[in-house]
Symmetry: none
């Protein structure tokens, strides 16, 4: 079944608010096994709203409108939808009562226009709204089901969960299940090329790639009679992707981020971590601390932006700074060794680079970054070239650092198990 979303509100067209309702409803509809091909936003304007609704009812089975159910003059979603569906607005006694109760409870006398909210299209299914005075509405037309929801998320979400989701589940026969394979340290086109055959052959499940900074996510989505069956269909594809990308797959869990994967790895191996940052200025530490419970593994970080700070906190040598400059393989190495020594942490990461926009030279252009990683004394330093704005270079450096530290820890573990074996 095909669902279409129409968000009503001039404040969205003006960019005063971000349309998070659409994101919520899209995700919920996908989970309910509905295909969403179109979403649109229109202002509180009768002609344009009715044009949009008519078009949606022609091409989709279910149309969900959100917003414009308020008591004010410019709220006209209900009036327009009723007109398009050829239904009169009639007073709903139950809702009249709800409104009186709502205001009585707040010791407010309702204004004239509040009663407007008790008017509902003839024969419409009325959905309860425990958090507001606008009822939700469902009109079952021949060609499409038209669902009206209030705009405020704190009214829309509970109403969707209590009334709309069960309604949709009754309508939809099949189920949809999707799983995301998250890859670090590879570019989107490289990933695309590596799975071109799978994409070309895809039917059910389908594959889609999403590029993130320093990461690529592949979403595998299957549809079937039940979620259980859909899940079963995705399994072999996810397994194949894991086989193709090996250790670069850092998770297949929706909620696990790259920094979470690194911290889980540290925790599982009882390792602690520190970092010494120059051009990223604390971004790596901040990402690690994003994760609740980070304190188990992340102990401290040093933002050694000036050379003086590099020397004071990390014991970087004056001679090395003079000979190679602060952005060099040698300094990244001294930084990471210094951070490991000062913090006594098992794992240390250092980042030094030229984030730009200024400060680049022919030999050392903007975007040149050196990242050092030390795991139990084993030091690795890599050179990177990132492009884009100052912010982009710094974000890329942080993602690369997380990718590098993850790889170094994995190597350390495999060496360890190897040594144990032999």
């Amino acid at each position: 079944m095909i669902v279409e979303l129409i968000s009503v509100g001039t404040e969205i067209l003006l960019g005063n608010i971000v349309n998070t309702n659409a994101a919520y409803l899209s995700e919920q509809c996908a989970l309910a096994g509905l295909s969403c091909y179109f979403q649109s936003v229109v202002g509180d304007n009768e002609e344009r709203l009715s044009m949009t609704l008519k078009c949606a009812m022609e091409r989709s089975d279910i149309v969900i409108l959100s917003g414009g159910l308020g008591p004010t003059e410019d709220d006209l979603t209900k009036e327009v939808a009723a007109k398009v569906c050829g239904r009169k607005l009639v007073t709903n006694d139950m809702w009249m009562e709800r409104i009186s109760e709502f205001f009585a409870a707040r010791n407010i006398t309702p204004t004239e226009n509040n009663w407007k909210q008790a008017m509902v299209p003839k024969g419409a299914i009325v959905l309860d709204n425990p958090n507001g005075t606008a009822p939700g509405l469902i009109m079952e037309e021949k060609n499409a089901k038209v669902i009206l929801l209030p705009g405020p998320p704190n009214e829309l979400i509970p109403m969707f969960e209590a009334s709309v989701r069960p309604y949709l589940e009754e309508l939809t026969p099949g189920a949809l299940y999707s799983q995301t394979v998250k890859i670090c340290g590879q570019g989107e086109s490289a990933v695309e090329t590596a799975i071109k055959d799978l994409i070309d052959a895809q039917t059910n499940p389908t594959l889609a790639t999403y590029a993130k900074t320093g990461e690529v996510h592949i979403r595998v989505t299957a549809s079937a009679e039940t979620v259980k069956e859909a899940k079963k269909l995705t399994k072999p594809v996810v397994k194949e992707l894991k086989a193709r990308f090996g250790a670069d797959v850092y998770t297949t869990e929706e909620e696990v981020t790259l920094e979470k994967a690194v911290e889980d790895l540290l925790l599982a191996n009882k390792l602690t971590m520190t970092c010494a940052e120059s051009c990223t200025g604390g971004l790596l530490s901040a990402r690690l601390v994003n994760i609740p419970g980070a304190s188990e593994v992340f102990k401290s970080g040093l933002v050694t932006y000036s050379n003086k700070a590099k020397r004071k906190y990390l014991g970087v040598k004056k001679g090395t700074l003079q000979k190679y400059g602060p952005v060099s393989k040698q300094i990244a190495e001294e930084m990471v060794k210094g951070a490991a020594a000062a913090s006594k942490c098992d794992v240390a990461v250092s980042i030094t680079g030229i984030a730009g926009p200024d400060g680049g030279t022919k030999e050392k252009p903007v975007g040149l970054v050196y990242i050092g990683c030390s795991v139990k004394g084993k030091v690795t330093v890599k050179e990177y070239h990132f492009s884009g704005s100052r912010a982009k270079v710094r974000d890329s450096a942080v993602a690369a650092a997380l990718t590098l530290v993850r790889r170094c820890i994995l190597e350390y573990i495999s060496d360890l198990t190897f040594r144990k074996k032999s």
Copy 2:
């Protein structure tokens, strides 16, 4: 002139990402004096995309599409738009070079599909993309101008500002000028109450308030024949706002952020700064380093997440930790004093708090944060109570720290000038 937005991407239809590009573009178009009546979202599907584009070109003067310009199989916005506009795709030599350089700089050999991005519709205006490999494109058709932008915000926003905004300004008759008065340390409702009379009386210029974390921005927008005249209309209103909010107005310049205002203040007074962060884990340092040239004033930062690190790097006393706990006025004070002493910087800031979701108690709930500030030895410590998610609490703490350090420096300066006078 009427503009219409089309966001292309299955990930939006699936609710995997929130459509922030649409909010950004809506706001920018409104500022450029364009009316936006429709926005839509379609997936990476030729038939539906071309249907949507054709419809948009009939009812709007300008159509801005975002997303689907990537190198992968399912990116087909450019191909579909060219087809709808009846244009062939031709190789753009300049962009071929750009792509080779982009990959050469990274020592990566581009894959076959990368070159797809150098194909542009015949006769299209090519917009530079310093942050990616997809060029922006403008096709000037008889009935409408069709503008194609890449989906990633870090590519779309810089491209809009550098190339699209000037292009739109040339198209729109009359002139619009807006200036933003940025206020820190006051809540949105307090600000709105303070200017209710101005909002009620507004005609031209108009006022709009935008709540940001720890800040409120008031945008004053005037329309006139020329920018010069529009500018003239905004002046008295901006002056009035400055008078009402006094020192809480940290800038009236679009590009100046709170951290930039703080660094300008430091630079103007030849002061250096450091910070010691616990719950914010480097976010404050990272925001300060966001600003190019930060190294002039920001020297180092310490992320002392563990108690051990607080003691080692900041000389926080074991007894104080045991008696008052790491989240206390006393520790914030010892942290800031320790940071100032260790770094020898003129200004130091410390942050310690409970970001949640766990770790809160009845006495010390989640959201409790202490921020310390030391300017030339004069120490101030304040207690804050923030609400929301872990991320929200941390962002609020960083904004509050920037607000506090700004106030302390301003006090220091006024004391100084006072002492000089007397």
